[in-house]
């Protein structure tokens, strides 16, 4: 589902965010990405979401070479990649419902279908009773779950999460991780960047470890 072949991302000034990284993530896998801050976790996720393009090498997502996707086609690529952020990136002047509905609205879905899908997504993250609330009135864990509902509402084959539990206490973090496990069980491919080693070591999933832009360890699930 996600293929990196000798991928290097060099920023202006010579700093390498990612150096010669190669790995494959099969469809339906759940993979954690870890390393110190600045190790290149975010860079790697940004390359998959086409927020950035690699300097060398090849990134393929869902069978498509990202190097061949033109500027105008980036939106259509991003519709197949749900993204979750540490700071949630919610719009505070809209309700929870409207925030979650955004990916469906930009895709031009019909009104009735949007309502059905948004409620299903909110139900999955346990926030069906908050659909009319403003995100600012929710707790950090709830806001993160709204962000997750938004990332999965359009049923993308790939979901990326960048430090999704960064600001949450251990109990809430575990809840979020359990949610990801549930999505994974229905076939979604997930790549989750986190430095919460305690948490992920308990989950028995494959872990990619980055250090200064280099992929230093790829521990299989088990």
């Amino acid at each position: 589902m996600i293929h990196f072949e000798q991928v290097t991302k060099r920023y202006p000034g010579g700093h390498e965010g990612l150096s010669n990284a190669s790995f494959h993530i099969a469809p339906g896998e759940l993979v954690f990405l870890t390393g110190h801050s600045g190790a290149g976790k975010s860079t790697l996720l940004r390359l998959i979401g086409l927020l950035e393009r690699c300097t060398r090498g090849q990134v393929r997502v869902n069978g498509r070479n990202l190097g061949r996707i033109g500027r105008r086609d980036i939106p259509y690529h991003r519709r197949e990649v749900g993204m979750i952020f540490q700071d949630h990136r919610l719009l505070h002047d809209r309700t929870v419902f409207d925030n979650v509905a955004m990916p469906l609205v930009v895709a031009g879905m019909r009104h009735q279908e949007i309502g059905r899908r948004v409620r299903a997504a909110l139900d999955k993250v346990g926030l069906l009773n908050k659909e009319k609330a403003r995100p600012i009135t929710l707790s950090g864990g709830e806001q993160q779950r709204v962000g997750i509902a938004r990332a999965v509402v359009s049923k993308p084959p790939v979901v990326l999460a960048d430090e999704p539990t960064g600001n949450l206490d251990p109990a809430l973090s575990q809840e979020i991780m359990d949610l990801f496990m549930q999505f994974n069980r229905v076939g979604v491919t997930l790549l989750i960047a986190t430095h919460d080693l305690d948490l992920i070591s308990r989950m028995g999933q494959r872990i990619l470890t980055l250090n200064r832009g280099r992929l230093v360890r790829d521990s299989a699930a088990g």
């Binding site: 979401g49 869902n62 991003r78 955004m102 930009v106 031009g108």
Partner: protein, 316 residues
């Protein structure tokens, strides 16, 4: 390798139109929810558009009024020396039957000489002449619609074909000067209109630029979740369209108000000149042109702002 566009949605025309309608109404709703800010922008656009519109309407009125003055185009037909007073009268009677001519007056040589003597100051020199050197002259005023330079030239050619006529003189100077002056005024209005149209573009452009900045995070997030440039652009373009259109409507109201205020005094003045001239309201074609132009200016202004500033905003 699959196409990146396989999951494009909402492409059938009725869904597309519905979506545009939704965005248009949402944009209108947003503008109405901040009435003061919207009103300020609309007022600036309205005033900028009212000036050229008002000048255009005034110019039309001046031309309409001047229709009566163009009778000042008068022909002088100098008849041949051997043509006597009787033949001159016959020719005059014939010309009076021409519907294009308003007035034909015969000036016999004696009368012409007397007038010349009175006005020229050459009395002594004229006394030295044995006989009256002046021919019979017909003074002709055409109907107003035949007073334009082109029509007058045609009439003049017709007069010159008459056997009795030696030559025809046409006082076209005044007509030509008047047409030249209105032409200059028309160009002036065009220049002012162009400058103020540019001002409207800048006003709308700047307003939309600020709106784009205010919606920075919304634009970033929309790009992150796969919103196309067209999708992000659309509400801003509709905002520009509404700004332009409401500015146009305000301009129309302002000019109508000005005409209404001026109509009383103008009618009074016209009455003093025994004219029934009055200021008519803005006609439907002018109104249509005004609203179309204002809407297009708004759209163009926001288009410029959007194409300049939207690509600067990329999610990070």
């Amino acid at each position: 390798m699959g196409s990146a566009r396989t999951n494009r949605g909402g492409s059938d025309p009725s869904t597309w139109a519905l979506r545009h309608l939704q965005v248009a109404l949402a944009s209108l709703g947003r503008l109405c929810s901040a009435p003061l800010a919207t009103l300020m922008t609309t007022a600036v656009i309205g005033i900028a558009l009212a000036l050229p519109t008002g000048l255009h309407v005034t110019l039309n009125h001046v031309q309409q009024l001047a229709g009566g003055w163009e009778g000042a185009a008068t022909f002088s037909l100098f008849l041949k020396q051997e043509i006597g007073e009787k033949q001159a009268e016959t020719l005059a009677a014939k010309l009076r039957r021409n519907p294009r001519l308003a007035k034909v007056q015969v000036i016999p040589p004696d009368l012409a000489l007397a007038e010349f003597r009175r006005l020229s100051g050459f009395e002594g020199a004229l006394d030295a002449l044995d006989e009256n050197p002046l021919p019979t002259v017909l003074v002709i005023e055409p109907e107003p619609e035949y007073s334009t330079p082109e029509a007058a030239e045609t009439l003049m050619a017709g007069f010159n074909r008459q056997a009795e006529v030696d030559f025809t003189q046409l006082d076209l100077q005044w007509v030509r000067r008047f047409h030249a002056i209105t032409e200059i005024a028309r160009r002036g209005v065009l220049v002012i209109a162009a400058l103020l149209a540019l001002a409207v573009l800048l006003i709308v452009g700047n307003t939309i630029r600020l709106e784009i900045q205010n919606h920075r995070s919304e634009i970033e997030i929309t790009k992150l979740i796969g919103g196309t440039d067209a999708f992000i652009r659309r509400p801003f373009l509709y905002n520009g369209l509404w700004y332009g259109l409401s500015g146009g409507i305000l301009a129309w109201l302002l000019v109508s108000l000005a005409l209404w205020l001026l109509n009383g005094p103008v009618e009074h003045l016209a009455g003093l000149y025994h004219s029934d001239f009055d200021l008519s309201a803005i006609g439907l074609p002018t109104l249509g042109a005004l609203l179309t132009a204002s809407a297009l200016l708004g759209l163009l202004g926001s288009w410029i702002a959007v194409s300049r500033h939207l690509s600067d905003i990329e999610p990070d």
